[in-house]
Symmetry: C2
Subunit: 324 residues, 2 copies
């Protein structure tokens, strides 16, 4: 049995946010959570999502604080609250306007994916047949995100786009939520090539707990997950590994349809959220992960590194403006 | 002949901004200018205007800086640049969403009118037949602006709305650009009642140089304007008087039509911008105002107060968040 720690971090969640979500974060000892604000939303609905977060920060100020910079992250830690880092899984809200990167940054967005499954104005997602790599606007947006201190998230990107983005960026990037392809084959998962390229530039890989990313889906055991984590740590280095649970709790299945189809297509069959493994039904599963990682041979300080201190260190640096 | 001062302030301009505009500000010795971002624009086009300002701040960083707080205003003064304070003459961009006040504040908006000529969701403008006063949402928005440190501008308001707003606000307000009704009759001008109510609560009146606000239009003399200023100072007190030139330079007449008609009506006759008086053709006219005010009997320190130090002191306090 673990005592909740104050310094653990979840590299991505998209729950149907309520006071319960934030209470679970506290019970799990999460000092920071990267929360997805938008999938297929354009700028205007994204502003509504941001407004909703601003009210949550006021209504639940005893549990959560905005996580915009190192000072915020440390304030959350020292006051026993969870810093919420706002992120976009799709660059749709910037439309084709480089100036909207600054607008979204000023509104608190600190993470943005270049692509979400599909081809975007910036590059290509993993589901297209052909990934033609980073576009001209993609390079401009990377430079702007580098300048502002907005983290580039390569989750859901095509491999060529991801590798070209890593080469183009002056600052480290992250794959906030994915699992390695050596464990579960598929283009949504990350190859060893990408893992090494990411880590070589100081980047982070957040291991996902979403069943479709797990080797045996909902039936995957804690031991199997932690063995995979040990192998991943050998590839990227222990300092470059974290957790990005991809928890989507208390959401109706229509939200899964929205994530997959947005407005660009119509579903051909109903979709359902898979059941979480019993040892990670919500973020309180971090306590089980601590046990599992120790059982898989992780030293105590490495457990802390993977469950929190790596993301803490990484985010604090990532959100600094260039030259600040 | 006057040496340009570093501390003068223009309480409102809406020019067709170019490097020339900013060079004139420097020549005029303006340390701060409140610049209108939107008239009848909704949220989305207002974001485009804000993006355009963000690029101007980068492209002309040797001449202008964003003016968001006291530190910015002092930085502009000490570095010989002009702080640009962004404001809205209409609350349309907040739609009916209280949360958008914070969004616009985070994007740099520091001044907002409750109404622009017409009835709004918050209250009533001066051109409606009947002003039914401040609405329920109007009271909410005032409280939110008070909390954030966003200045409430009562220019273009109906008198009842303006007086009720002053009573509802915990913080001083401004009429950034108008002239007194004792000098030129009309509901766009401010009554002695409103002038006294504004000043009693620590508010500011910015005297307009827009010809339709001047007693004799474009033919108004500098001496007549400065005599009016002396009488206004007697009513509001010397510490509550400033300049808000309402300069709209280098704009096509279509912009005047936009200001008047927006999209809510169609013009019945063509409109034209009136010619500025010869002694205030652009903001370099501040140098003539200094001469004129002295000639009208203003003491040297009172000239400085009206041309700049009053707005400087007022804005520095107005942009502080409540409790900060």
């Amino acid at each position: 049995m673990n005592t909740p720690r104050a310094g653990w971090v979840d590299g991505l969640q998209f729950c149907n946010w309520s006071r319960k979500s934030f209470e679970h974060m506290r019970t799990a000892g999460l000092s920071a959570v990267h929360a997805t604000v938008a999938y297929h939303e354009g700028l205007r609905p994204t502003l509504d999502r941001i407004v909703a977060w601003n009210w949550r920060f006021r209504d639940h100020a005893d549990l959560i604080v905005p996580g915009r910079n190192a000072a915020d992250l440390m304030r959350a830690l020292s006051s026993g609250r969870t810093a919420i880092i706002l992120g976009l899984q799709n660059p749709l809200p910037i439309e084709d306007d480089l100036g909207l990167v600054t607008v979204l940054h000023e509104l608190g967005i600190r993470v943005m994916q270049l692509t979400y499954n599909n081809q975007s104005l910036l590059g290509c997602g993993w589901q297209e047949a052909e990934d033609s790599g980073l576009t001209r606007m993609g390079r401009e947006v990377i430079a702007e995100m580098n300048r502002l201190g907005m983290l580039i998230d390569l989750s859901h990107a095509g491999e060529r786009t991801a590798l070209e983005a890593i080469a183009a960026s002056k600052r480290p990037m992250a794959v906030t939520h994915a699992t390695p392809a050596f464990w579960r084959a598929g283009r949504r998962q990350v190859s060893e090539t990408l893992m090494r390229a990411l880590a070589d530039r100081g980047g982070m890989l957040g291991l996902s707990l979403y069943p479709h990313h797990l080797r045996d889906g909902s039936a995957t055991t804690l031991a199997a997950f932690c063995e995979m984590a040990a192998r991943a740590a050998e590839i990227v280095g222990i300092r470059h590994l974290g957790i990005g649970s991809d928890l989507c709790l208390d959401q109706p299945d229509s939200v899964l349809a929205w994530m997959r189809e947005g407005k660009w297509t119509r579903a051909t069959e109903p979709v359902r959220f898979p059941a979480q493994p019993g040892w990670f039904e919500d973020c309180r599963g971090f306590l089980n992960l601590a046990d599992g990682l120790r059982a898989a041979g992780f030293a105590a300080e490495d457990v802390e590194a993977v469950l929190g201190t790596n993301w803490q260190r990484f985010f604090r640096a990532a959100f600094r403006a260039e030259g600040a």
